[in-house]
Every structure is written in C-alpha cells, then in structure tokens.
C-alpha cells in the first residue's frame, strides 16, 4: 500500500514527469550567483530608421520560466536575435550571467556557452534523418576532429531514445526530416533543444501548428524544464501563456510595456489598449 502511495507521489511531482530532464549541461564560465542569468539593458536596434528594439531592459532569473507576449512586430524575435548573436544591437548591453558579454561573442560561442534556441519558423536539417538531427544537437564537443571520430556512447543512446519517445517520432527515426509535417518539425526542433541541454532556452512560438493535446504536452514540458533551466517563451496563444506563465513581459514597439503575473498584466489598461484590446 505504501508502495502505491510512494509511486503516486512520485508520479505527481511535476518536475519529474520527464525522467531524462537532468541538470543543464555544465557551463563553466557562467556565473549566475548574483541573481539574473540574463541581463538585457537599454538595448536599441533600428532597421533603416525603424526602431525594432527601443531601450529595452529585461532581466531573467536563473531557473525562471518567462513568457514574452506582444503584438506582431513588437520586437520579440529581434530580441532573441540579439541574445543569440545573430543581430548586433546599435546600443545597450547583453550579458549571460555576470561574466559573459554576449555582444562580444559569436553565434556558435554563445550556443556553446549554454543558450539554446528554437526558431519561430521551424528549421530542421531537411536532408538528415530525425535521428541524425538529434545526434547533431547532442551536447558534445563541437570540435572538428572530435566530430570526425565521434561515436555514440551507451548513455547518449539512452538519452536519444528517451527524447525520441517524448517527441513521438520513433516511427520516423530514419525518415528524412524534410518529409515531416509542420507539427512534427516543431517537435523535432524541441527535441533537438532538449538534446542540446542548454542552461537558457529561448523558445519562439513553440505551439504554432500544434493540436490541443500537443499544446498541453508542450506546456507540461516547458514547466518541468524550468527550475533546472531558465526558459524564455515567446507565444501568441493566450491560453497557452496562461497555462504556463508565472511572470509575463509585454513588449510593445520595442520596449517593455508591462511586467508581472498574467492577471496583473491582463488588467493593465495600457496592455488592454495595445494588445488584448485587439483580440476582444
């Protein structure tokens, strides 16, 4: 009887829903002891005079799950581009922990340092199989010679199998990723992110094109990732955001309009005006 209760208790622990979610891979240079894992201060970026980001300031704490919402063109994707080194801002600061200046690092160095990203438009390696896609994302040495002589260890194979099961693509394991449906590509990309095991995950519109059930599953996954990882989610789907959000940041015209719990944000008159007002 007590065994059953123990099992039930084990089962109810939300952070253990996915057994393979472990501590994030070690990021030796990362120093998040002083609180935030991500510092964005006064970041400005203009495209041909149009300010996509306008003196944006944002802090994300270690282990936090943060949702970013905002109307189309608010600068959400541009913010992720700045964090991952794709776009160099005109002004401002971007630090990962208190030691790494993201603006001085190249894209691959940022990724190696422990920031993983899921793109708005699902991108997978079309000509590689599902399994090969996951293998490439796996957290291993990214050096040239290491890649030439790399072979998968037993533990890594287990991890891969677990992720494969979670994203529900076991049947397609050896199919080319290009032949997957939109939703399956989304899952494959999420799976790749899990394989990469980054300290900070940036997830741009993860549930676009997913069914209700899949959306729920994604919500569960993101919630259980938080704590051991920090997660920043950009999403338009309000129900989805409500189901996972603890703290929400509203972006508008490149800067922060409001920040707080979902209820606070929803009751903020300025937010209702620019964003939620459009929906109702």
């Amino acid at each position: 009887m007590s065994r059953v209760i123990e099992m039930l208790q084990e089962f109810r622990r939300r952070d253990r829903v996915f057994p393979f979610i472990q501590e994030a891979a070690p990021a030796p240079l990362l120093d998040a002891r002083h609180g935030p894992i991500l510092y964005i201060e006064d970041v400005t970026k203009s495209f041909d005079g149009f300010k996509a980001l306008d003196a944006l300031t944002l802090y994300v704490d270690d282990g936090e799950l943060r949702c970013i919402i905002g109307p189309n063109g608010a600068g959400k994707t541009t913010l992720m581009d700045v964090i991952t080194g794709k776009t160099q801002p005109d002004a401002g600061l971007a630090w990962f922990g208190s030691r790494m200046n993201l603006l001085r690092m190249s894209e691959h160095a940022i990724a190696q340092a422990g920031i993983g990203r899921k793109f708005q438009k699902p991108t997978v390696y079309e000509n590689l199989t599902v399994q090969e896609n996951l293998e490439l994302a796996m957290h291993t040495d990214r050096g040239l010679l290491r890649s030439l002589f790399w072979h998968m260890g037993g533990e890594q194979r287990d991890q891969l199998d677990e992720v494969m099961e979670l994203i529900g693509l076991e049947q397609r394991r050896h199919k080319e990723a290009g032949s997957l449906s939109h939703g399956e590509k989304q899952w494959l990309e999420i799976g790749s992110l899990l394989m990469q095991n980054p300290r900070l995950l940036l997830v741009d519109e993860p549930v676009a094109g997913m069914t209700g059930h899949e959306t729920e599953q994604t919500a569960e996954l993101l919630v259980s990732l938080a704590g051991k990882h920090s997660v920043v989610v950009v999403e338009h789907d309000m129900d989805f955001v409500r189901s996972i959000a603890r703290k929400v940041t509203v972006l508008h015209q490149g800067s922060v309009l409001a920040e707080g719990s979902m209820d606070q944000v929803q009751n903020d008159p300025r937010v209702r005006e620019v964003y939620l007002g459009e929906e109702d």
Binding site: T84, K86, S106, E107, H108, A111, Q112, G116, R117, F119, T123, V124, Y125, E126, N127, L128, E132, E135, L136, A137, R142, L144, S147, L148, F149, W150, H151, S192, Q196
Partner: protein
C-alpha cells in the same frame, strides 16, 4: 581503441557495398593490368598501352570529381575554380619533371628568354622529389586555405562564391600565361623525360603511373567515405541545409567549411600531379574557366552527394569527350552545354538518382 577503429571502417559500406567496392578495385588494380600485359596483343580483350594511359588519366579526373563532390554535393558550396587547384598540382609536378630534364645543367628556353642563365629562386627546390611531393599538397592547400578563410569569414555563399572561384581560376590563368611568371607562359611545361630515374614514356612507368593513380583514387575515396559517414559529414550536410542553425547549435561552420574546402583542393592537386606525367604537358589552358565548369558537370551528371555518382559522372563525361572530340572536334562545347541543360532539367539527382528510382520502383513492383 584499435578495435573501435576497425569496426568503424567496416561500417563505411554495407556488405553488398563492400563487395562492389572489392570488385571495382580488382578491376582497376588487377584486371586492367592483366589485360594489358598478359593477354596477347592480337586478342580482342587486349588493352593497349595508350588505352591504359587514357584510363590512368580518367582515374585522376575521377579524383577531381570526388573532391568536388565533397565540397559541392555534401557541403553545398559550388566551386567553379577547382581547375586552378588541379593545375597547380600539375604545375608542381611539371616543374619537377622539367628540372629533371636539365639535371646535367642548362635551363629551358623560356627562362633564357627572360634574360637569365640560371634557374629563378623558386625553381631551385623543385629539383628534389620529396619537396615536390610536399608542394603537390601544400601549394593548392595553402591557396585554398587563404582564399577560403576570407571568403567564408565574410560569409560569401552560393552563387557569389561560385563566381569568385571562377575569378580565381581566371586570374591564375592570366598569371600563368605571362612569360615573366617563369613557368613557361602559354606553352606551359612539356617534353618530360624522367621521373625518379624512370623514363615517363616507358610502358612500365606508364603502368606504374596508372596503378598509382588507381591507388590514390581508392584511398581518397575511402577517406572521403570516412568523412561523409562520420558526424563531421553530417555537420557538412547540416551546413548545406541550414548554416545558421548549425551556428546556433554551437558548431563553428567556418572551421568545417575551411577543412573540407582545403582538403578538396589538396585532393585536386594530387590528381593534377598524377595527371601531368600521363599527358606529358601542363599549360595555363587547364585553368580556363570552362575547365572548372566542366568538372561541375561531371558531378552534376553523376549525382551530387553520393561520391560514387561523381566517379561515374567523371567517367561518363570524359568517355564521351574522348569520343566526340575524336569524331567531331568542334562540337564538344555545344555537346557539353546541351548535356548540362539536359541534366539540370531531367536528371536533378544525376545518374545515381535515376538508378535509385529505378531500383525503388523495381522493389515495389
């Protein structure tokens, strides 16, 4: 560790693949020499010396196609300048052979025309074979590395990259055309006599050159196969599919691209060096832009991203070329153009793709 390496090598091919590989190796390294040497000259199956040398040259060109497939087929970087690397390897070998011609003193005419009675400084070390052997790989390798570093670092891609490689080979051609450059001007280097003490016109030497070319091709093929079946190979394909994603996963594409690009150029240099003693001449014509385009046609016709496709393509196109240029010498370029259009329109995956489809259909029926 050693055990691991052996199992890794074994997985380069499926058992059937290894069988085919062994048969082809046997055909190149055993059957052809036997048909040339053992079978009597009046037999239908006899392979004359000229045919053996022709095949030796084809093996070198197949090596070029292999190198090009690595960079174009797998990594998605189209080079229309591989002729330059091929010719550089050829020139390095040609310079050594020319030095051998004047081992007893004296200098060739083209150097006398420059008003010099002694070898220019850069000719001096080519008297040593070991130095030449090193330069065969280093000269194309270093050029490719420097060129690739700047091009890839500035993220030059696609058509733009292809165009600047054309410019590279064209510029090299103009440089080598000049008599002042000191490597024979428009006539190039020719009339070779000896290599390592053997006469290059001798039938035995020819057979040896053929065998070395075959061996070079086989080993290079295995090397390429090792690369494309490794995780490194998958990174290359990933770069072809979505380079930015590769970057955001933490790989530095610059290193990977530079590695295959340089390796590819070095294999081309090796091919050129083996080609020259079998043709007996190297001149700047090898660097003509059209030559490099032709190389791309070999790979496109055979099928990109398969390695074997490149080999087949080089064989097919060069076989046709030998035949067409013998019968209708003026028509070859038109023929090549038509072939290119045909392949682009009807065989996007090349001859190998055609086979694949045929067998898949056969399997379903």
């Amino acid at each position: 560790m050693r055990q691991l390496f052996i199992t890794r090598i074994a997985t380069l091919h499926s058992p059937l693949g290894w069988l085919l590989f062994a048969l082809l190796v046997a055909a190149v390294l055993v059957l052809m020499p036997v048909l040339n040497r053992v079978v009597p000259p009046d037999s239908f199956f006899h392979v004359p010396n000229w045919a053996l040398t022709l095949m030796g040259r084809f093996l070198c060109l197949a090596l070029v196609a292999l190198a090009l497939d690595l960079i174009w087929g797998y990594t998605g970087i189209l080079s229309l300048g591989h002729g330059a690397f091929f010719a550089l390897g050829g020139y390095v070998m040609g310079m050594h052979l020319t030095r051998n011609n004047f081992a007893d003193g004296g200098v060739p005419n083209f150097i006398q025309f420059l008003g010099q009675s002694d070898w220019p400084w850069f000719w001096v070390p080519f008297q040593w074979f070991w130095f030449t052997a090193l330069m065969i790989l280093l000269v194309p390798g270093v050029l490719a590395f420097v060129f690739g570093f700047f091009a890839f670092r500035s993220r030059v891609r696609g058509v733009y990259f292809a165009i600047i490689t054309q410019a590279l080979t064209f510029a090299m051609m103009l440089l080598f055309f000049r008599t002042e450059t000191g490597v024979g001007g428009d006539t190039g280097l020719t009339n070779f006599r000896t290599l390592l003490g053997f006469s290059v016109r001798d039938a035995d030497t020819r057979l040896a050159l053929y065998l070395i070319s075959g061996l070079a091709l086989i080993l290079s093929y295995l090397l390429c196969r090792f690369i494309v079946t490794s995780k490194l190979g998958r990174v290359l394909t990933a770069i072809r599919d979505s380079e930015s994603r590769v970057r955001f996963t933490g790989y530095n594409p610059l290193r990977y691209k530079l590695f295959v690009w340089t390796l590819s150029a070095m294999l081309c240099g090796l091919a050129g060096a083996l080609y020259v003693p079998q043709t007996g001449v190297i001149n700047p014509g090898e660097m003509a832009p059209a030559q490099s385009i032709e190389m791309a046609v070999w790979v496109a016709l055979g099928g990109r991203g398969t390695l074997v496709g490149a080999l087949a393509g080089a064989g097919i196109v060069n076989g046709m070329k030998s035949w067409v240029t013998a019968v209708y010498p003026d028509l070859w370029l038109y023929f090549l153009g038509a072939l290119f259009v045909f392949v682009t329109l009807f065989l996007p995956r090349g001859v190998v793709g055609l086979f694949d489809r045929f067998f898949k259909r056969g399997g379903q029926a």
